[in-house]
Symmetry: D2
């Protein structure tokens, strides 16, 4: 019996990079959090502390900055693919690269009804994400978002569930359903002419339509319908994974007060929360390889 | 020499209250974080543990919920004033009340181009705030917001500053100016016909116009102009206070690389940050009393 | 009626400064978060953008670093006083200075039972704080801590309280009492021979003894006794202020299960929470001036 | 080509459970954050909204509470295994269960030098974690911790690394090395007589010894030595995974000031940070199955 080195990777996490395109007076802004990780022949660094094949994480950070100048980092997926190719193609010991990006959205400030040329306000809806895994000759892009907080104030029930001796929950025909949705969908070997921003808008819109219009019998059902709609929205998407905390809104008990509460006043509870995971894939989907092997914050 | 009890107050913090108005199929949502504090003759509770005059914080929470049914909590300022009057007028030992409210904004999800009747997505821009202090016969309302993240990519300089032996900063004619703005403005003894939501929109728009259009020589100057514009926007506002972290965006040094960086690629730094505070008031403003004596999270 | 500039200050917040004393092989570490603010004749910067009297916040940061070399920043109070004197005495437009410091505590890692010379682990108990306000000729030091999480599993009741129509809380003879305590105590014009670290240890110990040993009828009562004990522990302390969230631990209702729950299994709730504030002062305490006018995170 | 349901699970996340053992006057406290997830025949819930086989997440929460009464939840691993067996053995549609637990540590308050019977203070060092995966007939326990913040002020170098055109980092013979360590180690089919608390203490001590005593040429090397030491410390451990952010401490440049900085004054930077992952395993380790398929917060 011996102890051996297992899977490993290293890189620079959370480089906060802001790119201003200022070719004209009407500036554009791209605001990113970029993480890079390299995989390959680095066992000597672990086993013996030999750094000769190790490109410093500081260099990875510098490269991420320079790449944001070489090309406009919007869309983030094309930027990430180009950066991954640089590491894999140009740095000898690197066999695979993982790039994870968060994009924070900004909109123009309105001044007297007109969007301003160079003043922006951060929009606080979802954070758009991309995870690029380049394992030559295969490239995976996982497009997605996190923290999309949505709520429907009716059109959701929960009843006829399994009951055991520890079940005290009462069934309901009409409840608030709310979640802070994380969604990630995989495209393997994307074509060069893919319109990443249009894909993002289309998949997100398809999912929101399902969330709004399906009369929900359970969050599980809603997630499946959202997942399926995402794949139907774009043929390039091979697979999608959703994680949804069930953010409970409990009607406050008014039975002892001089008012009735007919699903009008709720307590938005913090913890605990239901947590539902769903996924959908095409039955002919290309293999996922390490596309789902996360980097930032992974354990 | 004796040790005496000093200022004190107690209450319930961060009641997460969601109110759905569902009189028609087109629901409305008001999403609040409500904190209440009572001031008055409570020294026996501190000195002797005598609770006879102490209305439990749990009761304060219940009352906040019931009040959200009795009246529509939009606008939050009228809701807070009514709740404060209840505590002061109906609960005998209470001499003054403080209500602090955060409001999270939601917008309707668009389905096929139309805003949906009962499905909402959380907008992530600023959190609107209100702090009501009722010290009979005077009532103060401090309207405001926090976490409004704004950035201008040009139109800001910083130069000609004081230099001492520890100064290494280089002057600049053109930099990114960005902040996460907190603003609070005071109205004392508001008239019953005040349109709180219109006031909020007007003051915010006036401040954003100044932020965007003033060619800034320093964040201090920008804040003063924003503060003055707020007071000019609405005669009921007696005073305004602004706190602005200077969220530094440093141009990345490309001098050793094969690319130039002409204010295009920035590192958005976390800490440290400049922190600038400014205030403006009318020279005939009514006294502030305890209007600025905060409750939630105060030390 | 005119609009005038009100109170203002500016500085550098959250400079994360680590000082290693390595005069011998047995290193010492002091880990700080330092914020500085200057008050004085800066109205031209606000009104006209004139920076000639403005010492950049970047310079304030540099100065904080240099001062941590000039003198050992342990104790933090002496370091802060020295830094404040530098700004007020050496920088002409500065009339008063405010220094706020957080100190994170580290302890030595034990290796085979012995504390290691240069390897440390962060202890996660309370964060020690200091706020120095120098308004010549007066100096105020507010020593304190935040986030001291304490809990007693018995010895606390809550009953015989005021009941109104919205009261549903049941009285209890025996409950968990828990809080995350913030405490700040003021020393005005401290003598040069004050032992700050001994004062800190003594005041904290006196408060914890009261928390543990007093049979509590209410968190208010506990806070008052802790506050009084702090002043009794050290004659240099003129005043103390406490803020304590009542972190509710609710016994879980087992009435429908095959087990009894006799104050053994609790749900630790997040929000809402009671929030109690208490203060104590000597009746001959020197005036507080701006000692309590906070800087970091203030609104 | 068809769209099919992929992997899925559901449960209750972050039940904040406090257990007091009060058989004598000397109480004990166990403070937990428990998440449960069920896997099995739940596709009808997703595809058709049919809840007949779905045990509500609310019931899972209730069960976690009751189980904390049925048995002392210290050690957490035995508690989690018992809870997992309940779901798999007693609830028909459940084929596998995942229990994730965080444990927050408390110590007794000292009063006049003696540890108090029922008053505790939260220690803020690492959070101990356990993840139990029961896939009959196999049970995996992943023991570990997160957020163990350690620092060595010397004994760490970084030099002789790979240099490309974007490399600007200077080599160093002596730097601060600091991290906030996450470690997880797997035991598959643990024997009934395993002493979980002793294992935890032993593995942690072995890792800290390596961190302190190895003269480090890179964080990669340190992690490998820590991982190997963990496996050597306990033969039941089959595999270990480490994630370590390299929390950079940069010496402040004093070259323009009247002081020297010989590795004494550092800026503790927030972002970006290096992120290094390492793992070690026995070459005869039992297969991991779904032991590493996380639940809480996973995407």
């Amino acid at each position: 019996m011996a102890i051996v080195l297992g899977p490993h990777q290293y890189g620079k996490a959370e480089t906060r990079l802001v790119r201003i395109v200022r070719d004209t007076d009407r500036h554009r802004i791209t605001d990113l959090n970029v993480s890079t990780a390299l995989r390959g022949g680095f066992s000597a660094a672990y086993l013996e502390g030999d750094q000769r094949d190790v490109l410093p994480t500081d260099t990875q950070k510098n490269t991420a900055y320079v790449w944001a100048k070489k090309l406009d980092p919007d869309p983030i997926e094309a930027y990430g693919l180009s950066l991954a190719h640089h590491f894999v193609d140009e740095v000898d010991p690197v066999r695979a690269a993982r790039i994870e990006i968060e994009r924070y959205d900004w909109t123009r400030v309105e001044v007297d009804g007109a969007p301003h040329d160079h003043t922006f306000v951060r929009t606080g809806q979802e954070v758009r994400t991309a995870a690029i895994t380049l394992e030559p000759p295969v490239a995976h892009v996982v497009q997605g978002f996190k923290d999309l907080i949505v709520l429907k104030s009716t059109g959701s029930a929960f009843k006829d569930f399994l009951v055991d001796e520890y079940t005290t929950l009462q069934p309901t025909e009409d409840r608030i359903m709310a979640t802070s949705l994380t969604a990630r969908w995989r495209i393997t070997d994307p074509g060069a002419d893919l319109d990443w921003n249009a894909m993002y808008a289309g998949v997100k819109a398809a999912m929101l339509r399902e969330f709004a219009t399906l009369h929900s019998l359970a969050l599980q059902q809603t997630l499946w319908h959202m997942a399926r709609a995402a794949l139907e929205a774009n043929p390039a998407v091979a697979e999608i994974r959703l994680v949804a905390p069930n953010k409970h809104h409990f009607p406050v008990d008014f039975s002892r007060f001089d008012e009735a509460n007919e699903n009008e006043v709720f307590h938005a509870d913090d913890r605990p929360y239901g947590l539902i995971q769903a996924s959908a894939l095409r039955d002919d989907a290309a293999p996922a390889g390490d596309a789902w092997w996360g980097y930032t914050g992974l354990a």
